[in-house]
């Protein structure tokens, strides 16, 4: 079920009503969350519910088991068996064909003949998200950072909470699980804030991302025929497409969470206003970046074990993060490109230089900040070429075309491009003005005059209706 679908427009009010009618019983509210989350997930393909339930149940049993075992070594074995099972399922559905194809290529490279049929499997929606959420929990319990959940329904509600189930944020048990243990009380201000955030997320998805996608798809469908300037425009539009798509989903997820009295973590913090790549990665897909930081990078030693280990750890972090996005060398190359951009900062201990928001309290950035933001945007956008390309060859062809003399020609302008640029301009202005809030429109809620507030909402809604492209799936569903 897509957030931007009619099905969801019916589903949400029904669940909302049932949930708050049951406000006197936390157990009943959790049960409603679980059932509605299963319906939400099963709407796509009910057969994969069994896989989902298996993942939840193994994580729950593992947690309970580890809670009773004092010996760390024994706990480690329990943890590993759970991780192997869950990452095994993820690996089978997501990476089996990729690894088999590469194995066949290697065998053929050595002159041997081998033919293996592709596995006929469909990637279950959201498997990377819920597997990581469940595994984060088991690692926390293993480390004794968290007490194991003792209520299966509460635990299931934590893993399956439908707003964040299929595309994150990848929640931490320490944040989300306690919220399912305590009574939730309806808060009108919070619910209004949630609606506002949903509206902004919808704008980012159906106006910005989906209009940009129309142009981007056309550009990438025929890379060889495009001028350098059109390719430049294409990849800039893709940078906003992927941002609008994913951060739009996250905004809607967080907004829906607020309607149910649940606070989900912030997943994006205006990443394109970053002054270096390290800041960009602190602001982009925060829930995944921090997951890898806490469960991969830091346990490997982070940047505390000398230059060589820092280089290795950073490369591993970004390569694994790239591979998480999909079973294709393009994602690995995208991860590697970001690692190469990030490494100089971490080796010079400059990676925590920009911890605050740019031009805080000011209307405009200074020239230096503007230059830094433009450079960071350019570098991250160039890396997106790998992410969007269907193959390494296409990415290289893209770069070849991009850095040609035709870069200085005027790109072919169409109405679609005009609409996409207009949508992006609105996004950039509103996000800049609202960059100090938890999302761009948050401050609108502080405007005292209701007519002004509503005029802003109607304006955004008007853009959604006038320029929205309907029913495009979310890019991150495929991850």
């Amino acid at each position: 079920m897509l957030f931007n679908s009619f099905d969801f427009a019916i589903f949400l009010p029904i669940v909302f009503t049932l949930y708050w009618l049951s406000r006197k019983s936390v157990k009943l509210q959790n049960l409603i969350i679980v059932i509605s989350s299963y319906v939400f997930y099963g709407w796509w393909d009910w057969r994969y519910l069994f896989l989902f339930i298996l993942s939840i149940t193994t994580a729950y049993i593992t947690g309970r088991w580890m809670d009773t075992v004092e010996d760390r070594r024994q706990r480690l074995w329990i943890l590993l068996s759970c991780i192997i099972l869950n990452f095994g399922i993820l690996g089978y559905y997501k990476y089996a064909n990729f690894f088999v194809a590469n194995f066949v290529d290697v065998v053929r490279f050595f002159g041997m003949s081998l033919s293996v049929d592709r596995l006929n499997v469909i990637l279950p929606v959201g498997i990377s998200f819920y597997t990581f959420q469940a595994m984060g929990y088991t690692i926390d319990v293993y480390r004794r950072d968290l007490k194991a959940a003792h209520n299966y329904i509460e635990f299931t509600a934590f893993i399956s909470f439908f707003p964040q189930l299929v595309a994150g944020p990848i929640e931490r048990a320490a944040n989300l699980l306690p919220q399912f243990k305590t009574a939730r009380h309806f808060n009108g201000v919070e619910a209004s804030d949630g609606m506002r955030q949903i509206l902004w997320g919808l704008f980012k998805k159906v106006v910005v991302a989906d209009n940009a996608a129309v142009v981007v798809n056309a550009v990438f469908a025929n890379v060889g025929a495009q001028s350098g300037s059109t390719l430049a425009l294409g990849i800039v539009l893709f940078a906003f497409q992927i941002y609008g798509d994913f951060s739009g989903y996250s905004d809607m997820a967080v907004g829906v969470g607020k309607l149910f009295g649940i606070t989900l973590m912030k997943n994006f913090a205006t990443p394109y206003f970053s002054r270096d790549i390290a800041e960009f990665w602190r602001r982009w897909h925060i829930s995944l970046s921090t997951w890898f930081r806490d469960y991969v990078y830091i346990p490997m030693g982070g940047n505390r074990k000398g230059y060589a280990r820092t280089v290795v750890n950073t490369m591993v972090l970004f390569l694994v993060s790239g591979l998480w996005h999909g079973a294709n060398w393009t994602f690995v190359a995208w991860g590697a490109a970001n690692a190469l951009l990030f490494l100089p900062l971490v080796l010079r201990r400059q990676n925590r230089k920009h911890l605050d928001i740019v031009a805080k309290g000011k209307l405009l950035p200074n020239a230096r900040e503007l230059g830094e933001m433009l450079l960071t945007f350019t570098l991250s956008t160039l890396a997106w070429v790998f992410f969007r390309a269907v193959s390494i060859q296409q990415a290289l062809q893209y770069f070849k075309g991009l850095f040609s003399l035709s870069l200085f020609q005027l790109p072919t302008l169409t109405l679609d491009i005009g609409v996409a640029i207009f949508a992006i301009s609105v996004l950039v202005v509103v996000e800049w003005l609202g960059r100090e809030g938890s999302y761009a429109l948050e401050r609108v809620g502080l405007v005292q005059s209701r007519p002004v507030r509503w005029a802003i909402y109607y304006a955004v809604l008007g853009l959604v209706i006038a320029f929205g492209v309907s029913s495009q799936a979310f890019v991150y569903f495929q991850f």
Binding site: F6, W20, F186, G188, A191, S192, M195, W454, Y457, Y458, L461, I465, A466, F467, G468, S470
Partner: protein, 303 residues
């Protein structure tokens, strides 16, 4: 909670009202679907022939030049399953119906409107022909089946610019001008690419629809003409040979097993010249008259 819901309702009320008004205004605009649905009922007592198909039929057959009473029930991208459903919808009300002409183009057995690029047209069949479609806002409303821009333009053209939205004549035929600005080769490349399907998953469903359609018509003692419409050589050279072979195999099979079924294969018929075409695969008015006279002759002279 009460305060929140009240505010939400108040906020949504103008949107719902505006949407309802726009939907009503859009449905009040005359259109080809509603016009044809009404025309068939109005002419029910006298209609002898019905012509089904996609744009190849809509622009290609003009019953007004025929000696028999016919009506063109084709619409752009109308697939065979919808032809059949329209026949089921109207046939019981047509006491004098004796012949049904079904156009089977190179793509007809390999595509459905519901899964094609023009699926937004599907809602018209629910709204104006009262066909039952799976319930969704996209399938049942003008507002949700079209892009906002399309709806806004429709409203503007009809209510502000006073443009006539009806292009068909009293017999359901829409005339195309002499020729398009594209040259025939360019138009053939585009059309052939649009009409070639690597995925043949619709074949079974459409073959079944055609078979049931033919069986249903002939069971009433009515005659069926399965027409492969004329096209330019540029188009014929470029369409999928596999699709054409399969199409001919299926319709010949239907004709061989039923004496009331005739196949009229005009795809490369040399009676049609370049001057008869609007583009690579659509007849212009002159070509439509030629095809209509040919069909008239076939229907009236063959027992």
């Amino acid at each position: 909670m009460k305060n929140f819901l009240t505010k939400l309702m108040l906020f949504l009320l103008p949107i719902v009202l505006a949407g309802g008004l726009a939907e009503g205004a859009l449905r009040s605009i005359p259109n080809d679907y509603a016009t044809k649905a009404k025309a068939v009922i109005d002419k029910a007592e006298s209609l002898e022939v019905l012509f089904f198909g996609s744009s190849h039929t809509l622009y290609g057959i003009d019953p007004s030049v025929m000696s028999i009473e016919g009506y063109n029930l084709a619409h752009p991208s109308q697939s065979i399953d919808l032809d059949y459903r329209l026949y089921q919808r109207f046939a019981p009300q047509l006491p004098n119906l004796s012949t049904v002409v079904i156009t089977v183009s190179s793509f007809s057995l390999f595509s459905t409107l519901a899964t094609g690029l023009e699926q937004w047209r599907l809602a018209n069949y629910a709204m104006y022909y009262d066909l039952k479609l799976p319930w969704s806002l996209e399938n049942q409303t003008e507002l949700f089946s079209n892009a906002f821009k399309t709806s806004a333009l429709k409203l503007w053209r009809y209510y502000v610019s006073n443009q006539n939205p009806i292009w068909i004549n009293d017999f359901g035929f829409q005339a195309k001008p002499a020729s398009t600005t594209l040259d025939f080769t360019e138009s053939a490349i585009l059309a052939a690419s649009r009409h070639t399907y690597s995925d043949w998953s619709a074949l079974e469903q459409q073959t079944q629809a055609l078979t049931e359609f033919v069986a249903s018509v002939t069971a009433k003692g009515q005659r069926v003409i399965l027409l492969i419409p004329p096209a330019t050589a540029a188009y014929v050279e470029r369409i999928s040979a596999a699709q054409m072979t399969k199409t001919r195999e299926i319709i010949q099979g239907l004709a061989e097993s039923n004496a009331l079924v005739t196949v009229l294969d005009l795809l490369s018929d040399d009676r049609f010249e370049l001057g008869d075409f609007y583009d690579a695969d659509h007849l212009n008015q002159q070509g439509a008259h030629k095809l209509s006279e040919l069909l008239d002759s076939l229907i009236t002279t063959t027992p």
